[in-house]
């Protein structure tokens, strides 16, 4: 049949044929789109993973927080204020709202209320911003208050010893600005008082004059406080020539002036309004965004400094483990056989030593010579690289038998070239993911070890999240804000690193290419 058909074709003369492509070289058509390489593809798939992207942004924010907050903070880690300890977080934006403005609302009794009220009388500030009284029927029908107290102002006054020069500088400051920093000395200047900042806050007549008094006032018939200052006929007692508070007019006889300072061996003992005194020293009123802890340290600065330390430690551990693990695993996986067995035994044993034991022993042995941080780093590196080595080893076992490796070997590539040029890039995804996912683990165990006081990273200018947590745990029921911010920080950190690591793992795994669509 086909022969018949063929036979039917009429004969075509040769000159009717012509060459189509005689002078042109033929090429494949150029690709219209750009080629998508491994990393570009990984990046594209990573950005499509919303949660990983959010986590990535969060991590960047946390890192920036750790880097820049200690630089721009008004306080340092070494900053410790004996009076502003455990004050509540205050954000100036929220002033007066009752939330995040440094006030605490709670039940207080009459004595406490009057004590707090008295602090504001001399300076004209309102320490108790709102109150509601009720009768407590359980305890002999006493009056109680639900009051909102400004924890910054409730500090009140303090006795401070100054050198003469300093005393003159404060007076000069007062004269220049018109701000009263020094206040008259009350009769409670005896150092035996326990409450009210060693008695500095008891400027009024007390019902109970003993050293352990809680500040129960002896009010006059109008319900006002009765001033109880030391009086002198010398208006410039101790050389005080500056501002005087209202009511200090020399009395009826013109001979009873309030005393603003008392000379002692080191200089002058004065009573300062601590809120203003703080401003005099630091140039601004006290305000702590995250509050302060029991030592009067700024939690914001400490947290950022601790985070910085954790990040530095975790990243260096991760990098060192990456290098050691990659080389070790590459040798194991590439050569195999006896080399592999021997090396695996070693890493197995190291892997099985509990980290706690390593950290403790290194701490006990090395902390004196290389420092606490150094020995901790050693401890992490000692056992940490094993996981990375195992991962690289598996990858090498997977790729070393592939045809392209054989081809490269046939072409004369050396072992080193095969390992680093041909096999290693293929396992890069797994390795990078492993390194990133190791970071939250290091941060967690570092915080745990310092929480348990097995390592002590606390020095005058250094702190760690674990130390902050353990300090906060002791105050959990009374001042939960001390633990809240470090705990929140480390939780966000762990969540974002895990999300980011998972996203990275999926993105760098080429076998998932196109799988999501």
């Amino acid at each position: 049949m086909s022969e018949q058909k063929l036979g039917n074709i009429p004969e075509i003369p040769a000159e009717k044929f012509s060459f189509v492509n005689r002078d042109r070289t033929l090429r494949d058509e150029k690709l219209q789109t750009k080629p998508i390489g491994y990393f570009k593809d990984a990046w594209m798939r990573f950005t499509r993973n919303k949660s990983a992207l959010v986590a990535f942004v969060l991590i960047i924010i946390l890192v920036l927080f750790a880097i820049f907050v200690p630089i721009f903070s008004k306080y340092t880690v070494a900053f410790r204020d004996p009076y502003y300890h455990t004050v509540l977080p205050r954000n100036e934006l929220f002033a007066g709202t009752g939330f995040w403005d440094g006030t605490s609302t709670g039940r207080i009794n009459e004595t406490r209320y009057l004590y707090l009220k008295s602090i504001g009388v001399e300076t004209g500030r309102t320490v108790v911003t709102s109150k509601e009284s009720y009768t407590n029927d359980d305890v002999k029908k006493t009056t109680m208050y639900i009051a909102t107290v400004d924890t910054y102002l409730s500090v009140g006054y303090a006795f401070v010893n100054m050198r003469q020069s300093e005393f003159e500088a404060v007076m000069d400051y007062q004269n220049r600005t018109g701000i009263q920093v020094l206040y008259p000395l009350p009769r409670t200047i005896a150092t035996t008082y326990i409450n009210g900042n060693d008695g500095a806050n008891f400027w009024y007549k007390l019902r109970d004059e003993s050293a352990a008094t809680k500040g129960d006032p002896d009010l006059d018939e109008n319900g006002d406080f009765v001033p109880n200052y030391i009086l002198s006929d010398n208006k410039e007692y101790a050389g005080y020539t500056s501002l005087r508070i209202a009511g200090d007019d020399g009395g009826e006889d013109g001979q009873s002036w309030y005393v603003y300072g008392r000379k002692n061996q080191s200089g002058v003992r004065v009573r300062v309004d601590y809120y203003e005194y703080f401003r005099y020293i630091y140039g601004q009123y006290p305000s702590f965004l995250f509050g302060t802890n029991v030592y009067g340290q700024d939690i914001l600065t400490c947290l950022a400094a601790g985070a910085r330390l954790s990040f530095l430690l975790a990243i260096s551990v991760s990098l060192i483990n990456f290098m050691i693990g990659a080389c070790y695993g590459a040798i194991e996986g590439y050569y195999g056989g006896t080399v592999d067995i021997v090396m695996e035994r070693i890493s197995d044993i190291l892997y099985d030593v509990p980290f706690m034991v390593v950290a403790t022993l290194f701490q006990l042995h090395l902390a004196k010579t290389v420092g606490v941080l150094g020995s901790l780093l050693f401890a992490y590196v000692m056992t940490g690289w094993v996981g990375m080595a195992a991962r690289v080893r598996t990858q090498f076992y997977r790729f070393k038998g592939h045809e392209y490796v054989l081809a490269a070997r046939t072409l004369g590539a050396s072992d080193r070239r095969l390992i680093f040029k041909h096999i290693f890039p293929n396992s890069l995804g797994t390795i990078v993911t492993g390194s990133v996912l190791a970071i939250p683990g290091v941060i967690f165990s570092e915080s745990m070890l310092s929480y348990l006081h097995i390592i002590n990273l606390e020095t005058s200018s250094l702190t760690s999240i674990g130390t902050l947590l353990s300090g906060g745990q002791a105050l959990l029921s009374t001042y939960p804000h001390v633990i809240f911010f470090p705990a929140l920080f480390i939780s966000i950190l762990e969540i974002s690193f895990n999300l980011f690591g998972n996203g990275l793992r999926d993105a760098l795994n080429p076998s998932l290419r196109g799988a999501e669509d």
């Binding site: 030593v353 042995h365 959990l476 939780s491 895990n498």
Partner: protein, 326 residues
């Protein structure tokens, strides 16, 4: 052949385990002995006993002799020494055995409570795969796995113990509570710790169950099971769950052994008199006899969990043949 092979495999693993343990103990011993020995506290009530014990362990002799005596004491009398800086004069092993039940109880309770919850969430998420319920559960799992266990402890302690006042901030002693160790009162006192540990375990279990089950559910035999007339519930409970359990069960077992070592910080926060607290105290007061014994204990726990995990894979699923040469 399979059974025989399994026996050989287990024997080999256990032998290797003891070899590893031996090496780690040796390293640990030498490193501890190189440290200066803290003096015996004068206040200890059994100072003479402690000194006599030190003599027996050869404290003034070279480290190699001490090492030999150390093994001799352990192998012949199971003698790990006596407490020197804490529990002065008390036998280390007895104190440990005394404390162990608390740690085991906390972990056992939290695992037992976590298993049904974790499985339920995991199954639910797998059945609703890629629906909003699944996304919600997966997100929560991610959060709960990542948040450190001590943060749960703080939350539980603040809200349940302090604000609500349901429990004491730290656990009272058993004699204070009255009743025995297994009584309900002790269980109630342990609830804060159990909860704090449980969050992570539930999340972990949910994740594994979801991953395993959703993989199993796509298998051809599930289609066959439905084709031959089984309802969805029947197919899942009789076919899918069984296969998923192959992976989940070993995970549960190793999880249990694993958190024996992981409840250190929880014990510390809630003041549970378990081995974790003992270990931390031994480090803080530098009691090296306790430290040595506890380190061996934790190493052993870690090694054992690895073996149990691998072996249980093989026991549950005959298809998995470990260590088989190609």
């Amino acid at each position: 052949m399979g059974k025989h092979y399994m026996g050989m495999y287990i024997a080999k693993r256990i032998l290797l385990m003891f070899l590893t343990l031996f090496i780690i103990m040796t390293m640990c011993f030498i490193l501890v002995k190189l440290l200066p020995l803290p003096a015996v506290k004068e206040m200890g009530r059994d100072i003479n006993l402690v000194l006599a014990k030190r003599e027996k362990m050869g404290y003034n002799k070279p480290i190699m002799v001490q090492y030999f005596l150390f093994w001799k004491n352990i192998l012949t009398e199971w003698d790990w020494g006596v407490g020197e800086q804490m529990y002065e004069g008390l036998v280390v092993w007895d104190v440990m055995i005394d404390k162990l039940p608390y740690t085991v109880l906390v972990n056992l309770y939290s695992i037992l409570i976590a298993i049904p919850i974790g499985l339920a969430f995991g199954i639910f998420a797998a059945l609703k795969k890629n629906k909003w319920q699944d996304h919600l559960i997966s997100t929560l799992v991610m959060v709960f796995i990542s948040v450190p266990s001590y943060v749960y402890a703080f939350i539980v302690q603040y809200f349940l113990c302090f604000k609500a006042g349901w429990f004491k901030l730290t656990m009272p002693s058993v004699s204070e509570l009255g009743g025995t160790l297994l009584s309900g009162r002790v269980f109630v006192a342990l609830i804060p710790a159990i909860l704090s540990l449980g969050f992570g375990v539930v999340a972990n279990l949910t994740r594994y169950t979801r991953a395993e089950l959703s993989e199993v559910l796509t298998g051809d035999y599930m289609l066959l099971a439905r084709t031959k007339g089984l309802t969805k519930a029947q197919a899942i409970s009789r076919h899918a769950m069984r296969n998923a359990m192959v992976v989940i069960l070993p995970m549960i077992i190793s999880d249990f052994i694993g958190i024996l070592g992981g409840s250190l910080i929880i014990e510390n926060i809630f003041g549970i008199p378990g081995v974790g607290n003992l270990y931390i105290n031994s480090i803080n007061v530098r009691d090296y006899n306790f430290f040595m014994a506890m380190s061996v204990f934790y190493t052993f726990i870690g090694l054992a969990s690895g073996i149990v995990m691998d072996v249980s894979y093989g026991l549950i699923d005959p298809r998995i043949r470990m260590g088989s040469k190609k």
